[in-house]
């Protein structure tokens, strides 16, 4: 099933008040693959990412027009519950944001709010193993999450997102606050996770996009400061033989 699509996005426009932040995006996102969103600062790629699990609902004044179909259902339909969307489409943020709780309870929280009744210890262990963190924390699950290093905290946040077994994980520059070694650990993890999860990752780092992703979408910002999708294709094609000249200029570092 590696090639069926999870998301069909059609005519997506995002506004902050009157300001059009993202303009007319059409995109299909493939199941169990990694899609990278790249582009210069302010091109709306993070805003776009946050539309995919309705996190933009939390921003006062933000509104979304158009269609974001997730498994053939528009997540912006009035009868769709945003909490259900977010429990199926997890998110990892730019800065690691563990809760001020123990490592164990950071992971248990998501399970509890979603009404998990199974074996909590087992679920916590499983998601920590999936996030390649188990060996480092198994002896101190009751320590505060703040005792972990930045890279470990970010992997804890990934484990936390995995715990509720979402189908998609959105990552908003997950490694930009981390050192190079921690960044590599996150990238390895992303490559491993795509066997079971669909991953959409925003990144500023083009090498990172080239290393981890199967497809890449390049966003630009127009003269009204609205972001738009320039090109979306296989990562290899984008980085070796892009169709659009702006893409090529950006990839080769002629502007940033």
């Amino acid at each position: 099933m590696g090639n069926s699509t999870v998301f069909n996005i059609r005519g997506l426009n995002v506004y902050y008040g009157d300001f059009l932040a993202v303009k007319d995006v059409d995109m299909d996102i493939k199941k169990e693959s990694v899609t990278a969103l790249i582009g210069p600062s302010g091109c709306g790629k993070s805003t776009y990412l946050r539309c995919l699990n309705r996190m933009n609902d939390l921003i006062i004044g933000a509104s979304v027009k158009g269609q974001v179909s997730f498994e053939n259902r528009n997540i912006y339909d009035s009868n769709v519950d945003a909490t259900e969307v977010r429990s199926r489409i997890g998110m990892v943020f730019q800065k690691p944001n563990p809760f001020p709780k123990s490592i164990y309870r950071n992971i248990a929280f998501g399970l509890k709010v979603n009404g998990f009744t199974g074996d909590m210890d087992e679920a916590v262990e499983k998601s920590l193993k999936q996030a390649a963190l188990w060996d480092e924390v198994k002896d101190r699950l009751n320590d505060s999450a703040f005792t972990l290093s930045g890279g470990q905290q970010q992997r804890l946040c990934i484990a936390r997102a995995l715990a509720i077994q979402p189908e998609v994980i959105l990552m908003d520059e997950p490694a930009s606050a981390l050192d190079p070694i921690a960044t590599l650990a996150i990238e390895d993890l992303v490559r491993e996770l795509k066997a079971n999860y669909t991953i959409v990752i925003v990144t500023h780092n083009m090498q990172q996009a080239a290393r981890v992703s199967d497809e890449t979408a390049f966003f630009m910002v127009d003269e009204d400061r609205s972001g738009y999708l320039v090109e979306h294709d296989d990562t290899q094609k984008i980085f070796t033989n892009p169709t659009n000249q702006r893409t090529e200029e950006y990839i080769t570092g002629r502007f940033s």
């Binding site: 006062i60 199926r88 997890g90 809760f99 001020p100 709780k101 929280f109 509890k112 709010v113």
Partner: protein, 301 residues
């Protein structure tokens, strides 16, 4: 850019004068600090000097009496403890609830702004005003029919609750506002709804701040004499209240009563009463400081 060239003869550094000004400003500020500290020191010394001879176990466990050597503040001490816990019981749910509403639910509009400004203003209203309000509302209006409320502990606690609610609301709001938004985002991203986010992430993080504010508000409440005099009006109590619908007295009233007596011995008793009240207040403030420090070191990790 034009290059700036100082003109030597138009500059007068006057370093000597600046040094003198600097030194005198330092002295003025130091004296300002000392006035407060020395004043407090003299006050405490005076109280300790007069009160310690009267301070013993009997003083804590005896009822007030006309004979100074037999007088104690048992009923006032128990009344203060009763009043403090009842006020806390009334204030915490309402105050924290209001703070949660204002911070997490209320839309940002003119009405909520007006409420916010008024809450801060209420914190500055003199306490006797609350006492008179409590007397009119709880003692006379709600109390007149078959002594439903009357001059009871409950009426006193309700009055003090009104007095300290603005403080608790403001402290709780500040604590809630200090919770990083990234916590909320993280919780929402896992499919939590608003109340789950508040209950699971916001309140636990804000709790130390809320507790600190509440304790400080309570220490304000038990030190107040004016509003409680308006409610209680009773200083000579030879029983302790057994339930919230009984009459009561508190430490500040007892102290006030002793100070007003002509005999010298009662001054000593008043001083001893002040020591007891101060000990309670300092203990509560110390708990608040410990909580705050614990909270700060935890969030810095």
């Amino acid at each position: 850019m034009n290059e700036y060239k100082p003109v030597a003869n138009s500059i007068n550094p006057n370093r000597k004068r600046r040094k003198i000004i600097g030194a005198s400003v330092y002295c003025i500020f130091l004296i300002s600090t000392l006035v407060g500290i020395v004043g407090l020191g003299v006050l405490i010394f005076d109280v300790l000097d007069k009160g310690i001879p009267w301070l013993n176990w009997q003083f804590l466990t005896d009822y007030p009496s006309r004979k100074p050597e037999e007088a104690g503040l048992y009923s006032a001490l128990i009344g203060t403890i009763w009043l403090m816990f009842m006020t806390a019981l009334l204030t915490v749910p309402i105050g924290v609830g209001a703070a949660i509403y204002l911070e997490e639910y209320a839309p940002r509009n003119l009405l909520t702004k007006a409420i916010e400004i008024n809450v801060s203003n209420l914190a500055g209203v003199p306490s006797i005003v609350y006492g008179l309000l409590g007397m009119a509302l709880f003692v006379y209006y709600l109390g007149s029919s078959e002594q439903f409320l009357g001059r009871t502990l409950l009426a006193g606690a309700l009055t003090l609750a009104l007095l300290v609610l603005p403080i608790v609301i403001m402290a709780s709001r500040e604590a809630i506002r200090a919770v990083p938004d990234s916590y909320r985002q993280g919780a929402y991203a896992m499919g939590a709804d608003k109340w789950q986010v508040i209950k699971g992430v916001v309140l636990p993080s804000a709790l130390p701040g809320i507790l600190t504010g509440t304790i400080l508000a309570m220490s304000r409440a038990i030190g107040e004499a004016a509003p409680v005099i308006a409610i209680s009006a009773l200083v000579y109590m030879t029983f302790i209240p057994a339930h919230p619908m009984e009459r009561f007295t508190v430490l500040p009233i007892q102290i006030y009563n002793w100070v007003a007596r002509p005999q010298e011995e009662f001054r000593g008793l008043a001083a001893a009463g002040i020591i007891v009240l101060l000990a309670i207040l300092l203990t509560m403030n110390a708990i608040a400081v410990v909580l705050r420090n614990k909270y700060q070191t935890r969030s810095e990790e």
